[in-house]
Amino acid sequence: MDRISLVISTLCFLLGFAYTMYALGARVYRGSPLNFCAMVAGFGFQTVWLYQRGQMVGRCPLGSLFDLLVFLAWSVTLLYLLTGTTYRLSLLGALTSPLVFLLQGAALLMETPVAVKSGTPVKPWLELHAAVSVVAYGAFALASIAGGMMLFQERQLKTRRLHSFFFHLPPIQELAAANRRLIYVGFSLLSVGLLAGVLNGVAHVGLLRIVSAGVWLLYAFLCLALRNSTISPHRVSWLAIGAFLILLLTVWTVEIVARG
């Protein structure tokens, strides 16, 4: 399959990434339409690629690590574009492009798996389960970025060594709120995805079931702690990053399951 639209999309994210790095290095970072336009263009090409891929495999393209990485990158971009102007124009938005670039860049390093149209009929619950779960992963990815920025900013404040782009970061309380919202959104989507999986009878996939339940429990604990205000934004940030790293490991699980 021709990878041109995926390559162009990745280049768009690279452009956004490069601009962010340049602007931060030159200490002139301001919410720029360039980064936003690069993200919109990248999203457009991503969507084209996923549509073509979906047509070829006859279902939501999530059957391999390659597909999963591209779909995850698409989910992160979608959430980035949906989260709102304030978020988009802040550094939090600008730092999304590197993550998307890395996810898609990793996919491009792999061979494109041969698209084989499945003979079995499409199961809507299964499609919903897979797609919504990956979009939830996108929300968790953004939560981990917000958490990372919150920890960076907190460290600067605590040590009183303020880097030049410190004042471009969103306020700590806004980052904490964004982190909280993204975890809630991600958890809701993940719950819907798992429910759809149960309804479809995905329960037969043993390893995936255990990993998914583990991830769900981890975020359920986080949501509960957030709801009861018993945890500081500092700890929430660490947990958001840690949970996302664990979650990335589950992506490998999918690959193992797919090969199995």
Binding site: V28, F166, P171, I172, Q173, T230, S232, P233, H234, R235
Partner: protein
């Protein structure tokens, strides 16, 4: 056609001299009009702030123009023959105005108040029918240059005073301060200045605790806040977001062991402690508590100094930007028309300036 500038500022004259040349706001327009009507001059603008008094005019002949300006000012009882007065002509005059409006010639490098002051001076001159083609174009260009310099460089970046650095940090922690409660311990001058800056940003409420309750009441009234007896401040503390310490106590007023249990009750709510007292009011160990950010007078001063340094580093970039505009404007001047075609362009530009003030 040449642009002339005659004036004095905080670099060339002490305040005792500057105040002798001050012109009242309501007289500036008429003054500019009379200046522009002098023989050998066409158009005039007068900028008068606490740091500078500057007269701008357009003239076909610089020597004759300056002589006319001096005669006019002499007639107004202003002796401009001393060393304190500078005279700029041509590109020098243009460059000087561009630097002034961009904040490069200000006492606090990069301050932005000057732009509003120059806009007001220009508006007064417009209303006094003192400007025409050349000064209209010059000042319009100056405002554009100032905008470009501010937008594309870090010349206005950061806070250069202890009070504004504290406010900036508070905004970096809480975002909008409208939901924040401030507590002041000790009604000193520094705490009043800092609290005043926070009050100006619209904090929700201010508590003032002082050993002398009358003094606490007095400050609380000025800040639209509430005075509390000094012994009672811990009971009001649980709801506080920003604490300003400025007492003369010889020991720590707030310690780690006092604050840790309070913060444990509110883990999702940060506390910004500003310790302006010497000796310090707040135990430095509180900075180790999750969600507590402690800044003393030295660390705030260091941030202010750092911001000023960043601004200084930007000077070269700003000067280069301005130089390009000076050349461009000087080229336009060479091809421009007669000195006193006042009807051209004035009304539209006045509207535009009014919109900008």
């Amino acid at each position: 056609m040449e642009i002339l500038c005659l004036g004095l500022n905080h670099r060339t004259a002490p305040v005792e001299l500057r105040e002798r040349f001050a012109i009242a706001d309501h007289e500036v327009g008429v003054f500019a009009n009379e200046l522009g009507r002098q023989e050998g001059l066409g158009e005039g603008v007068v900028i008068c702030t606490c740091n500078r008094v500057e007269f701008y005019a357009a003239s076909q002949n610089a020597e004759a123009g300056f002589a006319a300006m001096e005669r006019f000012l002499q007639g107004r009882g202003m002796d401009v023959s001393g060393d304190a007065f500078f005279r700029y002509r041509g590109k020098e005059g243009i460059r000087h105005l561009f630097r002034v409006v961009s904040g490069l010639d200000s006492m606090v490098l990069g301050e932005t108040e000057i732009l509003g002051q120059v806009k007001k001076a220009y508006q007064a001159a417009q209303e006094g029918k003192a400007t025409a083609r050349h000064l209209n174009k010059l000042f319009q260009r100056a405002f554009n240059v100032a905008k470009e310099v501010r937008t594309n460089t870090n010349i206005t970046r950061g806070s250069v005073s202890v009070g504004s650095a504290a406010v900036e940090l508070a905004e970096q922690i809480f975002g909008k301060l409208a939901r924040c409660t401030v507590m002041i311990l000790g009604a000193g001058e520094m705490s009043e200045l800092t609290a005043g800056a926070l009050h100006a940003r619209g904090v929700k409420s201010i508590f003032v605790a002082n050993r002398s309750y009358e003094r606490a009441q007095s400050l609380a009234e000025r800040m639209s806040g509430k005075a509390v007896h000094f012994e009672q401040w811990p009971s009001e503390f649980s709801d506080v977001d920003i604490l300003i310490g400025s007492t003369s106590a010889p020991h720590h007023v707030l310690t780690h062991s006092q604050l840790a249990p309070i913060m444990a009750q509110r883990p999702a709510r940060p506390l910004f402690c500003i310790d302006l007292a010497v000796p310090r009011d707040i135990d430095p160990e509180v900075n180790r508590i999750d969600g507590v950010y402690l800044y003393d007078i030295d660390s705030l001063q260091a941030i202010a100094d750092q911001s000023l340094e960043v601004r200084r580093q930007e000077l070269g970039v700003c000067e280069a930007m301005i130089a390009g505009h000076v050349e461009d404007f000087a080229r336009w001047l060479l091809t421009s028309g007669t000195p006193r075609d006042r009807d051209e362009g004035g009304a539209g530009e006045l509207r535009s300036v009014r919109g900008g003030i």
